[in-house]
Homo-oligomer: 450 residues x 2
């Protein structure tokens, strides 16, 4: 059994939904389908979920919500018209919205319920169309599917008991179409995942049914070895491991949020990234363990917006617990960090800039001064991290040499180098203005040279 998840662009229009149907028809193992809400049809278009958020906010603020609702209704009307199926879904949206409005729900619950309409209607449309073309298909509500979540509106976590319930899907004859993005608490309350949460639904369902493959259909042919907005037409990655995927996602470039993969990762389900618009393309497969060893480097990721908190104190290394006490202060202030490169008498803590806003900085520096009596403490902002990722790097001498040479060639100074003993990744810190040119130089070094 395969679980196929289709993203927003894959269900953005009737034309796209026809491609989805054809993909499902093509492989009888595709028995479970998860869909997003209709996304953008063009760059200027608005996602249905954004229309719904507008609708919900207008409603809560006592403003006119009808314009936003009309846009949503028109969108689905157009889709059903073009698919030549009944507009039952449009009627249901109207009555759903009316009953939400007249309910005694809290504002938050109203918003949650309204936000879920995009995925829910999308699933109804897709299942309707599958039936229309003669397939045995059925819409399945997340509650009936068994997606049980924690009561954290907007960032629900799925509960493990979902898995056994989802396994029951094996008993279904039909192709079931499940809306992504939301689940229900044990008390039956509708709660959404974080934005992009349809990927989470897909991953949970794949884990629950113990799928042979979790197919994630998007609008790109594959995962690229470097961000296409930095390097033109970069090479595709045909296969990478979960660990590599996670390291790549971490530093900013990703097809989907790596956390969405967790349930599938834990269940060791292989994940395939495919293109709805070009389903014949090989795509990228994400596996637990790599079978074929090739280029030691599979990808290069980069992200801006980091800062370094630098602390130096003569004879720091004689002070048992200095590092621990520094990290304790940060933890105490709710600041999480990424890395802690250190010299003998100094230590830097690299963190995301959002962890230490300017207004909080003075307080932290004051605490460090008072509690640790350093000789020097300061922050350096506007840092970017670049990560070179590959599980085979540990066995290949010269990756670091090639990488540092690539930085040197384009005159980008290294503020930080961090390589732990795992050696799945090699991390570099540079000033933000140098990051793109460095990434291009690294790409050339690892992917285009003989």
């Amino acid at each position: 059994m395969k679980v196929a998840k289709f993203g927003g662009s894959s269900v953005a229009s009737a034309e796209q939904i026809k491609k989805v149907a054809s993909i499902i028809q093509d492989d009888s193992d595709r028995k479970v389908v998860v869909v997003s809400a209709p996304g953008k049809r063009t760059a200027e278009d608005t996602k249905v979920t954004d229309l719904l958020i507008q609708l919900g906010e207008d409603l809560i603020n006592g403003e006119a919500y009808q314009p936003a609702l009309d846009l949503v209704l028109n969108r689905f009307q157009l889709i059903t018209d073009d698919l030549n199926i009944t507009n039952q879904v449009v009627q249901e949206i109207k009555s759903d919205v009316a009953s939400i409005i007249s309910s005694n729900y809290s504002d938050q619950m109203k918003l949650e319920a309204i936000k879920s309409i995009g995925e829910d209607s999308s699933a109804k449309v897709v299942s309707e169309y599958l039936k229309h073309i003669g397939l045995n298909a059925a819409y399945l509500n997340p509650k009936d599917a068994g997606i049980i979540v924690s009561n954290e509106p907007g960032s629900a976590q799925f509960l493990d008991e979902s898995l056994d319930l989802l396994y029951e899907l094996h008993k279904r004859e039909e192709i079931v179409v499940i809306p992504g993005f939301f689940g229900f608490t044990k008390e039956g309350k509708l709660v959404t995942f974080s934005r992009g949460g349809s990927d989470i639904t897909g991953s949970i369902v794949a884990a629950g049914v113990k799928a042979d493959l979790y197919e994630n259909f998007t609008d790109v042919d594959s995962v690229y070895c470097v961000n296409p907005s930095i390097v033109e037409n970069p090479k595709e990655i045909t296969s990478l491991t979960y660990k590599e995927m996670r390291e790549l996602s971490y530093a900013g470039f990703s097809v989907f949020h790596d956390e969405a993969l967790i349930p599938a990762v834990k269940a060791k389900i292989p994940v395939s990234i495919k293109n709805t618009n070009n389903p014949g393309a090989m795509g990228t497969i994400i596996v637990s363990e790599k079978e074929v060893r090739g280029n030691p480097v599979v990808g290069i990721a980069s992200a801006k917006g980091f800062l370094s908190l630098y602390v130096s104190k003569y004879l720091m290394n004689r002070e048992l617990g200095f590092g621990r006490r520094l990290l304790h202060i940060l933890e105490d202030e709710g600041i999480s960090f990424e890395h802690t490169p250190s010299g003998i008498d100094d230590m830097s803590v690299i963190m995301n800039e959002n962890q230490l806003p300017i207004e909080k900085e003075a307080k932290i520096i004051e605490r460090i001064k008072n509690e640790l009596h350093p000789d020097l403490v300061y922050t350096e902002r506007n840092l970017a991290l670049i990560m070179i990722v590959g599980e085979d790097m540990d066995s290949t001498i010269g990756v670091a040499a090639k990488a540092t040479e690539a930085f040197s060639r384009v005159n980008v100074n290294l503020e930080m180098i961090n390589q732990g003993s795992s050696e799945v990744s090699l991390m570099f810190g540079v000033k933000e203005e140098g990051v793109d040119v460095a990434v291009r130089s690294l790409y050339e070094a690892f992917f285009t040279e003989a």
Copy 2:
């Protein structure tokens, strides 16, 4: 005013002491002299301090101590004979030892007093000889000089109040000769510094008198840019900063223990490393701040005997406090660490192998497993650290590239790379068997290539 400290080889024989006298005579600013106990005259010789330790242990264990005492007496008799001065010092050693033996001192105090005889007698001989050649000189006991220390036998720490007392040396007309290696507690108890403690005395005295220069006379022309036992005839370092010196000393290669420098460092006294046997050689000067910027790399240091404790846990970076809790366990067990390179889901702690003996390892790993529930935890032993040091490295693009290329060229794999934001040093971890070949390759890259 200059403070000149002469090491054991500089006062090992009459011939050497004549060189010392000539050096002192040569510069009227050399008003304060600190001396070690006579060291080895040949590779097979025994240091006077080792003879004294033997004497003390024989005495305490109730064994015959006369043989060791005779060796000490003979040594000084020979020196005074060859210098053509009275053998008063020999008589004083006899009576000092006799009074220590008949005292009601504890065994530890007896040992401390006996250990101090080498430096004390050496200072007496040198001052005697200076007077003999017509200089105005005087032996000065550390108590009278004002070297006040903590009551930690064998590892005394000097107390800050020494500094003001030592400044009074400016009032002396004579060249004062002070024995190194020991001081007195406020209660008047003789306590020694750690082994090699004459460097500490020299450094304290230089700080106390606010010397223009602290000259440390040894038996090498200068500090070398790499360990001469690894690279033949390495280049000399003419000037380096305290910070560079400290980084170099840290990773195993040093002329003297970097900690001895602390008092001089704090007082911002420049330190000159000179050769008693070749006082005309330029030597190496250690300063607070570098004036001339040259080769970005001043030296390469290496040391064996490190291990890496590797811990990985999926989603580690989401767990606020994970790193702090790991370091807390180590601190709790009294283990100090050097560095903590980290990936996203893993963290390594690099430490000296003596911090985690094999027999302690199982307990630590057990604690980490129980308290942090990692996916994986293990140690990797037999690691060596290599440090490339230079304060100008931060402004020079390409140092990392040159260094990693040097490793790659000799096929030595990098287990770890660590560069913090201070950028005074760049640290590499390699397996021990590769360290020497890597150091030679780095030396070629940074010091012999055009």
